[in-house]
């Protein structure tokens, strides 16, 4: 049986290979054209007239030794039969010796080499990646005849490092992009702090904690672990580690490690972290908070803040978001306090009468506008109510409504008569008006309600140039034309009054032009109008006052073609609903 030959025409098992006595030097003496090996298909076969082989290493050896990649041939016993210079350097192998154990393990460990696949099956298996002596290698197996195996080994350390860097950089950008997106969402300090710890615990630490700046001796903290379990609480400044206090005070801002002693007793610490780092989150001049990153693993590569640049960049963005949220919270808090006095009041409960109201300012996020209403409990079981519309919109108008409501509140103690009250109001507004500013007039309906012995209600309505109220009767809806001039426009303006009696269930509906002039409908340009409004209210005497007010608001907003509208206010005064004897038939069957 003839000896098998490999691709290079060598006879691996035969005596065609003549090894030098010094395998370490790698000087193989098997010469091209030397020996008795016949190699009819050898790719490097020289012409028969080739010059005599040079002394020392053969040309093939020189070529192989000059290659960047390692080539080695191993026989069926695991003995290295050939290895070029690169293979000896990369793998530390020597010819005529067994493979060093780590190399053998790494090469054999590849999944595709678990079993001996025989010499001629699968000429090219997938490459194996291995780490040897701190270098990353990629080895490709080549089966040789006689159950020999050749390995082509490439040093990919530099390549791998570049790739790792690229991937890490990409992951970093992705994380920072996600962080920016997420941190920009909320303007609430607590939610922003929570976003910071959720992001940090997803990427930078096993447990992330944000401690917000100290207010009144205490700090709020927010913690989140890698399982997205979040906690929050408050901690006294006296109980904080000095490092943390310094970070919050802006004394020490850079990233720094925290010791186990520092962490002892902190409410947000769970278990015994192996490593911890602290970084202050830069805000507007002073830190917007401090971030604590904890790791449970002792692995140094996983120590918090190892990726210093990433942590610092994240801290910058977190700080900005927290500072913005804190600024917004401060402004919104101030605005809320100021707005509270301008918002429409809770309606008082007065025996013998029922009130209902609806309010929808033009600027919906603002909750306040140029329309207003108010109800005050008067003497002897009576009540005083007012609804009006100050010229203008938004905050400026809302401030005027606040002044107007307070003025009415004060003046009603001097005079209970609606017309006299409007007169006083007119004079007060004119006196208080800034002569430089635009005239701040208003349209107003002001009335008093007195319960009647029969369960009805007597209303005394005074008009200040406002839309006529609608009275919901049992048999229809009627308009109450009062007359009167604008309030706060001219001195000695004239105001008129009307008396209206409501039978039980009947209601008087006061509304502003945001209702009747709502533009929309089928063609989008039609106004809702008094007639349609009256139609809407027909039969509403069986509804309670709040439901009547809601019905008007509901239909007005549905009428609107686009979202834009004027301020809308509705106030309903109703004589209490009659309570018929409980003769209403019970439901035929009880439905579970």
């Amino acid at each position: 049986m003839p000896a098998r030959r490999d691709r290079h025409g060598r006879d691996p098992g035969g005596k065609g290979i003549i090894r030098s006595k010094d395998p370490d030097a790698g000087r193989m003496t098997t010469g091209i054209g030397g020996g008795s090996v016949d190699r009819p298909s050898a790719p490097v076969a020289p012409a028969p007239a080739a010059p005599a082989p040079p002394a020392g290493p053969s040309l093939a050896d020189r070529l192989l030794d000059g290659a960047d990649f390692g080539v080695l041939a191993i026989d069926e016993r695991g003995l290295v039969r050939r290895a070029n210079a690169a293979a000896r350097r990369l793998l530390g192998v020597r010819e005529a010796e067994l493979l060093p154990a780590p190399v053998a393990a790494a090469l054999v460990a590849g999944p595709e080499h678990g079993s001996d696949t025989g010499p001629d099956t699968g000429p090219d298996d997938g490459p194996v990646e291995l780490d040897l002596g701190g270098r990353a290698l990629r080895a490709r197996r080549q089966p040789l005849p006689g159950r020999w195996v050749a390995w082509h080994v490439e040093d990919v350390t530099e390549h791998r490092r570049r790739l790792d860097n690229l991937l890490a950089e990409r992951a970093r950008s992705r994380f920072l992009a996600a962080a920016s997106r997420r941190l920009g969402l909320s303007l609430h300090p607590g939610r922003t702090a929570r976003a910071v710890v959720e992001l940090a615990s997803s990427e930078l630490a096993d447990l992330a904690v944000v401690v917000l700046p100290v207010r009144g001796g205490v700090s709020e903290w927010y913690a989140c672990d890698a399982d997205r379990v979040a906690h929050s609480g408050r901690t006294d400044v006296a109980d904080m580690p000095a490092e943390l206090r310094d970070a919050l005070a802006g004394i020490a801002t850079g990233p720094r490690p925290l010791l186990a002693d520092d962490l002892a007793g902190q409410p947000w610490v769970a278990g015994a972290p192996a490593a911890a780092a602290l970084i202050s989150l830069p805000g507007n001049g002073v830190p917007a908070g401090a971030l604590v990153l904890l790791r449970h693993e002792t692995d140094s590569a996983a120590a918090p803040g190892v990726d210093k640049a990433l942590t610092e960049e994240f801290a910058q963005r977190s700080g900005l978001a927290l500072a913005a949220a804190s600024l917004y919270a401060g402004q919104a808090g101030t605005a809320a306090v100021l707005k509270r006095s301008l918002q429409q009041p809770e309606l008082p409960r007065v025996p013998g009468m029922a009130f209902g109201a609806a309010y929808r300012p033009a600027e919906e996020g603002l909750l306040i506008g140029g329309d207003f209403y108010d109800v005050h409990v008067g003497p002897e079981g009576s009540a005083m109510f007012v609804l009006g519309d100050v010229c203008g919109k938004g905050v400026h108008a809302a401030v005027s409504t606040g002044q107007l409501r307070q003025t009415v509140q004060a003046l009603r103690r001097l005079d209970q008569d609606p017309v006299s009250l409007l007169r006083l109001l007119n004079e007060t507004m004119l006196e208080a008006a800034d002569p430089e500013a635009d005239p701040g007039f208003a349209t107003v309906v002001l009335g008093t309600a007195t319960p009647l012995p029969d369960g009805g209600l007597e209303l005394e309505l005074a008009g200040g140039g406002h839309l006529p109220p609608l009275v919901v009767r049992r048999d229809g809806v009627e308009e109450v034309e009062i007359g009167g001039m604008l309030v706060g426009a001219v001195p000695s303006a004239r105001f008129a009054a009307r008396t209206v009696r409501l039978a039980p269930g009947e209601a008087c509906v006061l509304y502003t032009d945001g209702v009747s002039e709502a533009r929309g409908g089928v063609d989008g340009r039609e106004t809702l109008g008094e007639t349609r409004l009256a139609g809407l209210l027909a039969g509403a005497h069986v509804m309670p006052a709040p439901a009547i007010a809601e019905r008007v608001e509901q239909h007005t907003t549905r009428w609107l073609a686009s979202g834009a509208h004027d301020d809308i206010a509705v106030l309903v005064v109703q004589a209490p609903l009659p309570l018929p004897a409980p003769s209403d038939p019970a439901p035929a069957e009880e439905r579970p």
Partner: protein, 357 residues
């Protein structure tokens, strides 16, 4: 929202009496009865779900059968709201996370949301109920200021879903997870998922369970197709024309032959309602939104002894006016077939019926 569990016998015993109080809009009697049950040891949740939600369903049915007017229905609902508020005052504010609950803009069915709010409060959550038809802008500024853990939005009718989508997106953009509830999202919540909400609860009990599971996984992105975009926009633009054309076809008569509309105020209201359901179906790329509405309408007309001739004439008119709206036409054809066959109402009819109850 309705109770699906066996109600407390003490609640069942007083239900007729409570219903009678609702019929008279007798707030004091209704509140006294409900509080009396709570004082007698009936769990507040039982009173809310068994008594209030249960009778509210009956209120809706009475309106649907034409036994009660719209006004009476509103009056009874308003009383039930007062009852919920009164029962709720007995519950101390919760100390768990902060949940904000709001009815979406255009959604005026506040009662189910109010009941859910009280049930969540009973489960220990700190709950703020913002009320009916909360404008998106108002909700968002509230979320920025208060930073709640969850915002729960209630929608009773699928017709509000296009607006709901904008509100949901706006709320999620504040970083607040959105819990959707109410039959408006489909009885199986499919439209809630399509709008990309973080969680959907069919009822108050499930909402309590879901809140126990916080934090929720990241929601799937919304699937409201861009392909619906142009057709949706076109329908919005044609809304007025469609209503006007249908009004001419009906010669101003409502389906009931009365000046009052089937649903509420008048013929135009009814027709606008129908166009809006069609528009919502196109927005969600789901004809069931529209056929569900028609199923409910057919039931309603049947209960009032009216046929569906007028409704079918309207559908035909819409179909003729929408020749360049393939999806809307598909919805209309399906709807017409359904009305002709008097077919069992499709998916969503139950939702609409429940919501209107």
């Amino acid at each position: 929202m309705s109770p699906r569990h066996a109600p407390d016998s003490r609640v069942v015993a007083r239900r007729a009496e409570f219903m009678a109080a609702l019929g008279r809009a007798d707030e004091d009697a209704a509140v006294a009865l409900a509080l009396g049950l709570v004082d007698a040891g009936v769990p507040a949740g039982e009173v809310l779900l068994g008594l209030v939600a249960g009778t509210q369903e009956e209120v809706g049915l009475r309106w649907q059968r034409g036994e009660w007017s719209v006004a009476q229905e509103h009056a009874a609902t308003a009383v039930n709201e007062r009852v919920v508020a009164a029962v709720g005052r007995r519950t101390p504010p919760g100390t768990r996370g902060h949940v904000v609950l709001a009815c979406l803009d255009g959604e005026w069915h506040a009662l189910p949301g109010r009941i859910v709010a009280e049930v969540l409060r009973l489960a220990g959550w700190y709950v703020t109920f913002l009320g009916a038809s909360v404008p998106a802008g108002e909700l968002v500024s509230y979320l920025h200021q208060e930073g709640p853990d969850v915002v729960a939005v209630s929608c009773a009718l699928p017709v509000h879903l296009p607006a709901a989508h904008r509100t949901i997106v706006a709320a999620q953009r504040t970083g607040t997870p959105v819990l959707a509830g109410g039959p408006g999202f489909g009885t199986d919540g499919r439209w809630a998922r399509r709008l990309g909400v973080d969680a959907w609860a069919p009822d108050a009990v499930e909402a309590v369970r879901l809140l126990d599971e916080l934090p929720w996984p990241e929601p799937e992105p919304d699937q409201v197709g861009d392909e619906a975009g142009p057709e949706y926009a076109g329908l919005r633009e044609r809304r007025g024309d469609l209503v006007a054309a249908a009004t001419r076809v009906l010669h101003g008569r409502t389906a009931l032959g009365t000046p009052t509309g089937v649903v509420d105020a008048g013929l135009e209201d009814d027709l606008t309602h129908a166009v809006d359901f069609l528009t919502a179906a196109v927005y969600l790329s789901d004809p069931d939104v529209f056929t569900g509405y028609l199923g409910w309408l057919a039931d309603l007309l049947g209960a009032r002894g009216a046929g569906t001739d007028a409704a079918r004439a309207v559908l035909a008119e819409f179909h003729a006016g929408l020749h360049d709206f393939p999806f809307a036409q598909q919805c209309l054809r399906r709807g017409a077939t359904q009305l002709e066959e008097g077919a069992a109402p499709g998916h969503g009819a139950a939702a609409v019926r429940e919501a209107t109850a």
